[in-house]
C-alpha cells in the first residue's frame, strides 16, 4: 500500500493541517511548524509536501475568497480527510506498539 506511506515531514504537515482545523493554509501551517518543531521549512518545500499529501488523498483543499491582504490573492485552505486521519492513526499505532517493545529506559542507559 504505497499510498499510506507517510514521510516524516509529510506526517508533521498532516498533523498540523489536522490541528489547525479551519485555518490551515500555507502560511499558517508554516508558522505553526516553526513554532512547534523549531524548523522553518521554505514555502517551496511546504507546498511540495502539501501537493503530495493531496495527491495521496490525505488532505483536500479549497480556495478561499479574495481578501485585501496578499495583494488581493486568494488562499488555499487544506483539510484532513478521513483517509488522512486513518493514516495518522495507523502511523501512531505502529509507533506506539513498537515503542512499547522497547526495554526499560534504565537498561538502555547501562
Amino acid at each position: 500500500m504505497k499510498h499510506t506511506q507517510l514521510g516524516e515531514f509529510e506526517e508533521l504537515v498532516l498533523l498540523v493541517v489536522g490541528s489547525l482545523h479551519e485555518n490551515a493554509y500555507s502560511i499558517s501551517i508554516k508558522a505553526e511548524l516553526k513554532e512547534k518543531t523549531k524548523r522553518n521549512p521554505s514555502i517551496g518545500a511546504l507546498h511540495s509536501a502539501l501537493n503530495r499529501l493531496e495527491k495521496k488523498g490525505f488532505i483536500t483543499s479549497y480556495e478561499g475568497g479574495a481578501t485585501t491582504e496578499r495583494g488581493g490573492r486568494r488562499k488555499r485552505f487544506y483539510q484532513i480527510t478521513a483517509f488522512g486521519r486513518k493514516a495518522l492513526d495507523q502511523s501512531y499505532e505502529l509507533r506506539s506498539s513498537l515503542y512499547h517493545t522497547l526495554p526499560n529506559i534504565g537498561y538502555a542507559g547501562k
Binding site: S26, I27, S42, I43, G44, A45, H47, S48, N51, E63, T68, E69, R70, G71, R73, R74, K75, R76
Partner: protein, 883 residues
C-alpha cells in the same frame, strides 16, 4: 493589518515575480504568489527592506519544484504547435518547389563542401598523433650552413643517435635511427617463390623502433623482433605480395641479391597519417654487413633520420642548450663551427617541415588555412543564399503571417515558427549534404591520396560538430527572415496591395558579399593554376623531357657501367647516357669545398656525375669545357661550377673562374675547368644557389654517390627506346629487376602540395560559384515575380524585350560591379602573400581579375536574362487582371 498605501510604498522587486509567472503552472500561480507576498509583508515589518527582498527572491527560487512547473497540458500544446509548424513548412515547401529546391540544394552543396574540407583538414592535422608518446617525440635536425650556403637536413650522421642517448641519458628516453641508403628503391626477393621486386619503402631501424613509435605488430615480439642482425619485419600487404597465403614468419627474403633476411614479424600496414610510410623494417645491425662489419663512424656524412623521445618533464630547450657543446665534442674540425643541431616535434613534420632529405614530401600548413578559408567561404555563400531566398519568399508568406497575426499569434510565436522552419530545412540540407559526401568520399580520397573511411561520419565528435553546425546555420539564417516576416503589419498585409519589403538593402549587401567571395575564389583559382603551371613548365635550365632515370644504387652496376652504356647507345633511339647522384632538378647533396680566395672550406651543394652529364641534360656552358673522357685527371683534379658560385666568389666573369684552384677536404685538388649556366638543381621553391658538379668515375661510387643512370631517349619512340634499354640492362645485370621512371614525372612530385591545392581549389571554387549562381537564380526569380505587374503595365505602354532585360538586370549588374571592386584588393593582397613564398613566382597580372569579373558578370547576366526573357513573354492581361 498593513494598509494598502503603506504596502505600495514598500513593494518587492518585480522581476522575481515575473520569473515566477514564467515557470509556474497557472493552477498554482495565484496561491503561490499570494504566499510569497504575504510572507514579504510579514518580513518587511520586522527587518530591513533588502533582507525582505532577498528572502522574497529566495522564496521564489525555492519554488522551482517539479510540481510547480508548466507541463503536460502545455507540452501537448507544444507538440501540436510543432506538428503545425511542420505541416506549414511542408506545405510551403511543396507550394514553392523552385525556391525550396534552390534553397536546400544550395545549402546541401555548401555543407557537403564544408564537410569534405573538414574531413581533409582534420586528417591533415592528425598526422603522427597516434603514437602514445607523440608529444615527446622529436626529430633531430642538422643545420649545416655557412654564409647562407649549405643544407638544412632532416637526417644526421650515423653515430649521432647513440651519442645523444649516451650523453643525455637523463633527458633522452629513447633514440631510434632510420636508414635507407637514400636510395629510391632497393631489391628484395623471395627466392623460394621466385618473386623479386624493387622496393621503395625499406628502412633499417634500431631495435628501439617500437619504444619510440606505436606501430602495430600483428605477429612477432616487439621486444625482440629487431634485436638480431638480418631480421626483417614486413607489412601485412607485403606479406601478401611475397608469400600470398603462406605464413611468412621465419622465412627469408634476399636483400640486394646477397644478404638473407629472416622475417621475425608482421606489421600492420603503416597508417596513412604518418609522415613517412614503410613496407619493410630491417634490423639496424643488418647494415654492418654493407659497411665492412661495423657502422660508419663518420660525423660528416649524415644519412640517418634520428628520432628521440624526451623523458617526461623534459623540455626541448633543456636539450637544445647543450647541443652546441655536443657539436664541438663530436663533429670534425672543418665543419663543427657551421653545424647547429635542432629539434623538431614529430607532430609538426607533416605540415611544416620542408627540409633537405625529407623521407617523403610533406604537406603544407598554408594549404590547411587556404582550404579552411574556402570551406568558410562556401558555407557563407550557401548561408547567404539561404537567408535571402527565405526573405525573398516573405511576400509569398505575407498573407499567412497576416492571418496568423489576426488570429492572435504573438510575434514570438511567429519567430519560433520561422526559425523552426529554417532549422528543419537546414537539417534536410545537412542530410542531403552528408549523402553527397558519402557518394563522393571515395573519389575525394583518390584525389587527395587519403584513405578516410566513410565511418568517420559516425564518429561522435564528428556528429556533434555536424549537428552543432546545422543548428548554428539554421538559427543564423532563420533569424533575419523570422524578424522580417514577423514584423509585417497585419492590416497592410491583409489589405494586400503594395507590400514594401524592407529587406531589400540587406539583401543587396548579401548579394554583394557573395559575389565578392565568388570573384575572389575565381581569381585565386586562376592564379594558383598559373603559378603551378609556371613551376612545372618554366625552363629549369636543363632538359627534363625524354630523360629516363634508372635507379642503380647498391647494385653491381659500378663494374658494368661502361658496358651498359655501350650496349644502350647501340639503340638508335638512345642518344646519350650519364649517371647522377640524385634526381636532377629535385635533390642534391652537400660537400665542403675551399676555393681560391677563401680562408676556410664551406659546405656547397654538390652533385656527383659521370661523363656526358652536361650534354645529356643539355645544360649550356658559360665558360670552359665539360668533363672529357679522354682527360684522365678530370676524375679528381677538375670541377665544374655554376654561374651563381662564380658570382658568390666575387669573380667577375665565368671565364675568370676557369683555372681557379680548389681544395676538397683538406688536400689541394685541382682547378675549375668549366662553368655551366644556372639551372634549377633543386625545386623552384628555392632560389638557385652555388653548385659544384663533380665527376665521379669510381665503380664504388654506385654504393652511395651515384644513384641513377640518366638516359636521353627519342621522345617519339619511347616504347622501343625503353625496350632497347631493358635489353642492355639484362645483358649486364640479368639477375636484377629493371626499373625506371621519367625525370619530369619525378620533378613534378616536388610540386605535389601545389598540385593538390590547385585541384581542390578548382573543385571547390567551381562549386562555390555554382551555389552563388543558384542564389542569383532564386533572387532573379523573385525579383521578376515581384515586378510582373510593373512589367505588364510597361508592356502595355510599349516596352520591348531588350528594355525589359535592361530593367531587370541593371540592379544586379551594379551589385556585381561593386562586388568586383571589393574583391580586387582583397584578392590581390592575399595572393601576393601566397606567391611571396616561392623563389620563382609569377607576377600577378590583370587578366585573371578581368576574366573573373567577366565570368561572374556573364554567368549572372545569363541567369537574369533567362528570367527577363520569361517575363517578357508574360501576357499583360494575365498579370494585370489578377488583383
Amino acid at each position: 493589518m498593513l494598509g494598502n498605501e503603506e504596502g505600495k510604498r514598500k513593494t518587492p522587486p518585480k522581476w522575481p515575480d515575473k520569473f515566477l509567472g514564467w515557470f509556474c503552472h497557472e493552477d498554482h500561480l495565484e496561491i503561490l504568489r499570494g504566499d510569497v507576498y504575504e510572507l514579504y509583508e510579514e518580513h518587511i515589518e520586522t527587518m530591513p527592506k533588502w533582507k525582505a527582498d532577498l528572502l522574497f527572491i529566495l522564496n521564489i527560487l525555492g519554488l522551482c519544484r517539479p510540481f510547480v512547473f508548466k507541463r503536460k497540458s502545455q507540452n501537448s500544446i507544444h507538440i501540436a504547435m510543432f506538428r503545425n509548424y511542420f505541416k506549414v513548412t511542408y506545405r510551403n515547401f511543396i507550394k514553392q518547389k523552385v525556391y525550396s529546391m534552390l534553397n536546400i540544394s544550395g545549402l546541401a552543396i555548401g555543407l557537403a563542401c564544408a564537410i569534405l574540407i573538414f574531413i581533409y583538414i582534420s586528417d591533415e592535422l592528425s598526422y603522427d598523433k597516434f603514437h602514445s608518446k607523440s608529444d615527446r617525440i622529436y626529430r633531430v635536425l642538422e643545420k649545416f650552413e655557412s654564409e647562407g650556403v649549405g643544407e638544412h637536413s632532416a637526417s644526421l650522421p650515423f653515430p649521432t643517435g647513440p651519442a645523444l642517448k649516451n650523453d643525455f641519458g637523463r633527458q633522452v628516453e629513447h633514440a631510434v635511427r632510420f636508414f635507407n641508403f637514400q636510395s629510391p628503391s632497393l631489391a628484395l626477393a623471395n627466392k623460394a617463390a621466385d618473386k623479386g621486386f624493387n622496393e621503395s619503402s625499406i628502412f633499417f631501424a634500431d631495435s628501439t623502433f617500437f619504444d619510440v613509435f606505436d606501430f602495430e605488430l600483428i605477429e612477432g615480439d616487439k621486444e625482440t623482433a629487431l634485436d638480431d642482425p638480418n631480421s626483417i619485419l614486413i607489412t601485412r600487404s607485403m606479406a601478401k605480395k611475397y608469400f600470398v597465403d603462406d605464413d611468412p614468419m621465419g622465412k627469408t627474403l634476399e636483400f640486394q641479391g646477397d644478404q638473407n633476411l629472416m622475417i621475425t614479424g608482421i606489421l600492420e600496414d603503416s597508417p596513412k597519417n604518418a609522415h613517412f610510410q614503410f613496407d619493410f623494417i630491417v634490423s639496424f645491425s643488418s647494415l654492418k654487413a654493407s659497411f665492412g662489419g661495423s657502422y660508419p663512424t663518420s660525423w660528416y656524412w649524415n644519412p640517418c633520420w634520428t628520432y628521440i623521445v624526451l623523458e617526461e618533464n623534459t623540455k626541448p630547450s633543456d636539450l637544445l642548450g647543450q647541443f652546441p657543446d655536443f657539436v664541438q665534442k663530436y663533429f670534425p674540425d672543418f665543419v663543427k663551427d657551421d653545424i647547429e643541431l635542432q629539434l623538431q616535434p614529430v607532430e609538426d613534420i607533416h605540415l611544416t617541415s620542408k627540409l633537405d632529405y625529407e623521407i617523403a614530401a610533406n604537406s603544407d600548413m598554408k594549404n590547411v588555412y587556404i582550404f579552411g578559408m574556402v570551406a568558410v567561404f562556401v558555407l557563407i555563400i550557401a548561408a547567404i543564399n539561404f537567408i535571402y531566398l527565405s526573405t525573398a519568399r516573405a511576400n509569398k508568406r505575407a498573407k499567412e503571417v497576416g492571418v496568423r497575426k489576426a488570429l492572435g499569434s504573438a510575434k514570438s510565436q511567429l519567430i519560433n515558427q520561422f526559425i523552426f522552419e529554417s532549422i528543419l530545412l537546414t537539417f534536410t540540407s545537412l542530410l542531403i549534404g552528408v549523402f553527397i559526401v558519402i557518394l563522393i568520399l571515395p573519389g575525394f580520397n583518390a584525389l587527395t591520396e587519403k584513405t578516410v573511411p566513410i565511418s568517420i561520419l559516425l564518429e561522435p565528435l564528428f556528429l556533434f560538430n555536424l549537428i552543432g553546425a546545422g543548428l548554428i546555420i539554421g538559427l543564423l539564417s532563420g533569424f533575419y527572415p523570422a524578424f522580417v516576416l514577423s514584423s509585417f503589419k497585419t492590416v497592410s498585409v491583409l489589405k494586400g496591395g503594395h507590400l514594401k519589403i524592407n529587406g531589400m538593402n540587406f539583401r543587396r549587401i548579401l548579394v554583394t558579399a557573395q559575389f565578392s567571395i565568388s570573384i575572389m575564389l575565381i581569381i585565386g583559382t586562376f592564379i594558383v593554376l598559373k603559378q603551378l603551371d609556371f613551376l612545372q613548365s618554366k625552363d629549369a635550365g636543363f632538359d627534363d623531357e625524354n630523360i629516363v632515370m634508372v635507379p642503380v644504387i647498391q647494385s653491381p652496376m659500378g663494374q658494368h657501367y661502361e658496358n651498359f652504356k655501350i650496349a644502350a647507345l647501340q639503340s638508335p633511339h638512345i642518344s646519350s647516357m650519364t649517371a647522377v647522384e640524385e634526381i636532377v632538378g629535385a635533390k642534391y647533396q652537400v660537400g665542403n669545398y675551399l676555393f681560391e680566395g677563401m680562408e676556410e672550406s664551406k659546405p656547397f651543394p654538390r652533385f656527383n656525375v659521370r661523363h656526358d652529364f652536361v650534354s645529356t641534360m643539355n645544360i649550356p656552358l658559360a665558360a670552359g669545357r665539360a668533363y672529357d673522357q679522354t682527360i684522365q685527371t678530370d676524375d679528381s683534379l677538375a670541377l665544374i661550377v655554376n654561374e651563381t658560385l662564380v658570382h658568390s666568389m666575387g669573380w667577375d666573369t665565368p671565364q675568370e673562374a676557369v683555372g681557379k684552384r680548389f681544395n676538397f677536404r683538406g688536400e689541394l685538388k685541382g682547378r675549375i675547368v668549366g662553368v655551366v649556366e644556372d639551372y634549377n638543381f633543386a625545386s623552384k621553391h628555392y632560389p638557385i644557389a652555388p653548385l659544384v658538379i663533380t665527376l665521379n668515375t669510381r665503380p664504388r661510387a654506385f654504393n652511395l654517390f651515384i644513384k641513377y643512370v640518366a638516359i636521353k631517349i627519342d621522345g617519339t619512340q619511347t616504347k622501343t627506346a625503353i625496350a632497347d634499354l631493358e635489353r642492355a640492362w639484362v645483358s649486364v645485370l640479368p639477375d636484377r629487376p629493371f626499373d625506371f621512371f621519367f625525370l619530369d614525372d619525378r620533378i613534378n612530385d616536388s610540386y605535389k602540395s601545389e598540385m593538390k591545392l590547385s585541384d581542390i581549389t578548382v573543385i571547390f571554387s567551381t562549386l562555390a560559384i555554382l551555389v552563388a549562381c543558384l542564389g542569383l537564380f532564386g533572387l532573379a526569380t523573385f525579383s521578376v515575380e515581384q515586378r510582373t505587374k510593373e512589367i505588364g503595365v510597361r508592356k502595355v505602354l510599349g516596352i520591348n524585350t531588350s528594355q525589359i532585360m535592361l530593367l531587370l538586370s541593371r540592379e544586379f549588374m551594379v551589385l556585381i560591379g561593386i562586388a568586383f571592386l571589393i574583391a580586387i584588393p582583397l584578392a590581390y593582397y592575399s595572393l601576393n602573400e601566397w606567391l611571396n613564398d616561392f623563389a620563382f613566382r609569377i607576377d600577378i597580372q590583370i587578366w585573371p581579375f578581368i576574366l573573373a569579373g567577366a565570368m561572374t558578370f556573364f554567368i549572372s547576366a545569363i541567369t537574369v536574362a533567362f528570367h527577363a526573357l520569361k517575363a517578357s513573354y508574360i501576357n499583360p492581361t494575365e498579370t494585370l487582371k489578377s488583383e
